[in-house]
Symmetry: C2
Subunit: 196 residues, 2 copies
Amino acid sequence: MNFLEERIVKDGIITEGNVLKVDSFLNHQMDIQLFDQIGAEFKRRFEEKPINKILTIEASGIGIACVAAQHFKVPVVFAKKTQSINLEGEMYVAEVESFTHRCKNQVIVSQKFLSEDDHVLIIDDFLANGCALQGLIQIVQSAGATVEGIGIVIEKGFQAGGSIIRNLGYQLESLAIVDAMDEKTGTFVFREQKEK
Amino acid sequence: MNFLEERIVKDGIITEGNVLKVDSFLNHQMDIQLFDQIGAEFKRRFEEKPINKILTIEASGIGIACVAAQHFKVPVVFAKKTQSINLEGEMYVAEVESFTHRCKNQVIVSQKFLSEDDHVLIIDDFLANGCALQGLIQIVQSAGATVEGIGIVIEKGFQAGGSIIRNLGYQLESLAIVDAMDEKTGTFVFREQKEK
C-alpha cells in the first residue's frame, strides 16, 4: 500500500450505499502535509510533461491543486460550476450531464486564462463517473490547449469514469484506485499499480 | 506599498459599479507563489497566536488557506455554502443574510472538525460587507472554539465589514485595504498600515 491507501484504510469510512467518506483529511477537513505528499507524487508521475498550468474544479479540488502547484511552479485555474456574476468577458462553457444526479451542470472557465499555448495538468480529488472531468477536458479542448495528464487522488474503480478517460488515451494517474469496498467489514480492495 | 498592493495596482481591474477584479491572480487563476508570500505574511502577523486550525469558506478561500496552512503546519477546514448530501452527522449551521444580494445563505461545518479545544485562524480572500465572515465567526463560537484571528487578502475599506469585525474586538489583518478606487483612471487608494 502507498501512503494514500494507508490513509484511506486508517481514516476512510464506508457508509450506507457504498459511499466512501474521506472528509476528515481530503474534502472537508484537509491534511495539508498529506496534500504536499500528493503533490510530490503527481510531480513524479508527470515529471516528463511540459506542464505550465494546472486546471481544477471548485470546491474540493482547489486545495489539492494549489499545494500540488508548488511542486510544478505553475499557476492554477479553477473552473466554476455555475455562471458567476463576477466573471466578465468570454467564457469556455462545458455542459455536463450527471448520470447519477440526472441533472445538467455548467463548467465554466474564463477565456483569458486558457489558450492554445497551454499544457495543462487536470487535478481533482475524486473520479467516479467522470462527468466533471469530461467537462474539464472539453474546456481545455475548446481553448485549443493540450491535456498533458490527469491527476486524481481517489478513483472509484467500480465506476466507469476511469476506463472511459483511459480509453480516450489520456495519461490518467489515480493515486489510489478503490476497486471494491465492504460496508460491513469496513475493508477496501485497491487496484495494484505498477511502480514507475 | 507592500507586495500585494503592488500586485493589485499592476493586475487589478476596476470595472463598472466599482467592482474590483483580481481574477488573474487571486480568485479564478491563482498565482501560487503570491499565495506563498501571503501565507508567510499571515504567519508573521499571527506569530504569537496558538493557532491549531485554519477555517475558510468555499470556493476561492480554499487555495489561499491551504497554502497559508503550510506556514502554520495545521489542517484546514472549509465551510460549505449549502447543505451537501455527502456531509453526514451533526453540523454547525450559521444562517447569514446577504445585505447586497438580499438573500439568505447557510454556512455549514461538520461538528467533527471543530471543538472547544480549537484555536482558529479564519482566512478568506475578500472582505466587503462581512456576511460570510460573520457566519464563520458564528460557527467557531457554536463549537465553543476560539477565534485567534482573521486573515483577509483584500478588504474593501469603503464597505462596512472591516469596521464591524474590528469593533467586535477581533484581530483582523487585511493585507491590502482598498479605501477608494477610481474606475476612470484605474487608480487605487490603499489605507496606510503600521508596520508591526
